[in-house]
Amino acid sequence: MIERYSGISPKGDLILLRKLAEKLAGKTFLHINSTREGGGVAEILQRMIPIMSSLGINARWDVIKADDKFFDMTKKVHNALQGYPETIGKDMWDHHRAVNEKNAAELDLEADATVIHDPQPVPLINFRKNGVWIWRCHIDVSNPQKEVFSEIGKYVSKFDAALYSVSRFAGGMSKNEFIISPSIDPLAEKNRELSRDEIEETARRLDIPLDRPVILQVSRFDRFKDPTGVIMAYRKVKKYNDCVLVLAGSPATDDPEGAEVLNEVRQFASDDPDVRILLLPAFSDKDINALQRMATVILQKSLKEGFGLTVTEGMWKGKPVIGGAAGGIPLQITHGVTGFLVHSIEGAAFRIRQLLNNSDMAERMGQQAREYVRQHFLITRQVRDYLAVWYTLSEGTKSLVEL
């Protein structure tokens, strides 16, 4: 399977990946998160597990089972860790622990290395059996609500290492904190090359006109993604530049606020026929791919962001992306080179207008963006990093490893 990435991923990533896999072949690598579908974590695990397996590693992925009360609470934890004020009572923390205790009894936690993704399953550390335990934080914890950070930190400090997407998210919760940016799979349905016919078929079915520039934002319907701000920016652009705005997202089972925000966005868009709000079913990967490829400009106007994989996806399609200067977005967008970083609705509107009126610049930026993603944000690099951290922790941390 790994040979399919030859000619796409950097050669060095593939060589190191194979060398690390030789060292770790036959060992068990367990990943646990809280949802099988929706959101970036599930998406990357769906792709990473088969790659690891094909390298001879016994890779497994389990999902914890929980009730609505649990997900309401963990959504609050998620918000609080991103700095949004939330109140989480003792009974909620007790429920968080109890749900994980029940899951621990049902899950097979025997593994040479275990990665726990995000705060939902973090109490499983209390039931660790053997091997290396790593906490993978996918969210922006650079300015968290202190009490919630402290509660989660009590669990995180028991792990052998914590992984963050961006340096400034690392918060001293673990003695070993690594920075590993997430990635996309260039061979996945969401990112593979599409024919013109395939793109036009999606446009027809979703009723997207292709006779005018398409401005696109793909993300969950979440206030931190600022969907209403995107509509306001579009309205400023529309005055001189006829265009269509597409807001597309899929529901996630661990995000109970999604429906409420979607409703708000629909009301805000009012009856503008050129604003298309698409609630796509889970696994609409080909449609999202086609939407990104038909877009003239892609937006990710997040106010808070973990990493912002939709930015990476847009860049991989050779599109100029305008991103909010939040979370991991500035790591991907070098302002003026691989896209534009914006800090306001007005800034977003200005950059959209600039790109719509200068197709050469848009083209050049898009190509630079694609190469930057190839070098840094493809899945082979992320699998390489996971295996490197596992190998490093197993062998004892050294600053130089010769293979």
Binding site: K11, G12, A170, Y372, A388, T397, S399, L400, V401, E402
Partner: protein, 230 residues
């Protein structure tokens, strides 16, 4: 010619490359004073990463290390950035000496800056370290023509390893490429031309292009001498 070829084959050049995994130290600086304090206490690995390994990353050529980059871009202290960029890490025998040089420059800057203004929120300097993985790139060259082909094929991480990182390993502080060209191929002049490339004024892609151009001309001259039409 036969004698020349057999001599080349005795010592093929093995391309290796390195890649790094980033590790946080948990320390961050918001202004020059804090930067100075943390530089004085942070690990050697962190100093190494923010100076020597600067050329392993995409960067702005105006700067030659992360400290200068931050001072220029986030603090907007251009004079401080210029002074920090003027530090040549390969001019110091030890990391302790390099650390002292960094502190000395920041001390003199702190005396002249009108106010030690903070970086905007979110743009603080985060001190990191790396775990460096070194491994063979799977490419060898036995003569200059093979070397030229390989140079076009290998990743930037290989160019970094042999052109920049080598200066810490190879006696005399030179790069691996010129060392091999001089010692295995006995082409001293070619080696000197490669050593004349200013490592601070180019990124790895440009270094690759420069060396390729220099070696290409040498291969063409060799072929002309041998009477091969080119």
């Amino acid at each position: 010619m036969e004698e020349h070829l057999s001599r080349e084959n005795q010592w093929p050049f093995e391309f290796r490359q390195c890649t790094t995994i980033l590790k946080a130290t948990g320390r961050k600086a918001s202004n020059l004073k804090e930067l100075r304090h943390i530089i004085s206490i942070v690990s050697d690995d962190s100093i190494f990463h923010h100076t020597y390994q600067y050329f392993l990353k995409e960067h702005i050529l105006e700067y030659t290390n992360d400290f200068a980059h931050w001072a220029g871009e986030s603090l907007e202290e251009r004079a401080v950035a210029e002074e920090l960029s003027n530090i040549d890490p390969y001019g110091y025998a030890t990391l302790a000496e390099l650390r002292s040089a960094l502190l000395s420059v920041i001390d003199s800057c702190l005396e002249i800056v009108s106010q030690d203004r903070p970086a905007p929120p979110g743009e603080e300097f985060y001190f990191n370290e790396t775990i460096t993985y070194v491994f063979p790139a799977g490419v060898w060259a036995s003569n200059l023509a093979e070397f030229l082909m390989a140079l076009k094929f290998v990743d930037d991480g290989s160019i970094y390893y042999h052109f920049y990182e080598a200066r810490m390993r190879v006696p005399g502080g030179v790069d691996d490429f010129s060392q091999w060209i001089e010692q295995a191929l006995h082409k001293k002049e070619l080696a000197e031309r490669i050593r004349a490339i200013d490592p601070f004024m180019h990124d790895t892609s440009e270094i690759r292009a420069y060396i390729t151009d220099i070696v290409m001309k040498e291969v063409s001259r060799d072929m002309e001498r041998m009477g091969v039409d080119i």
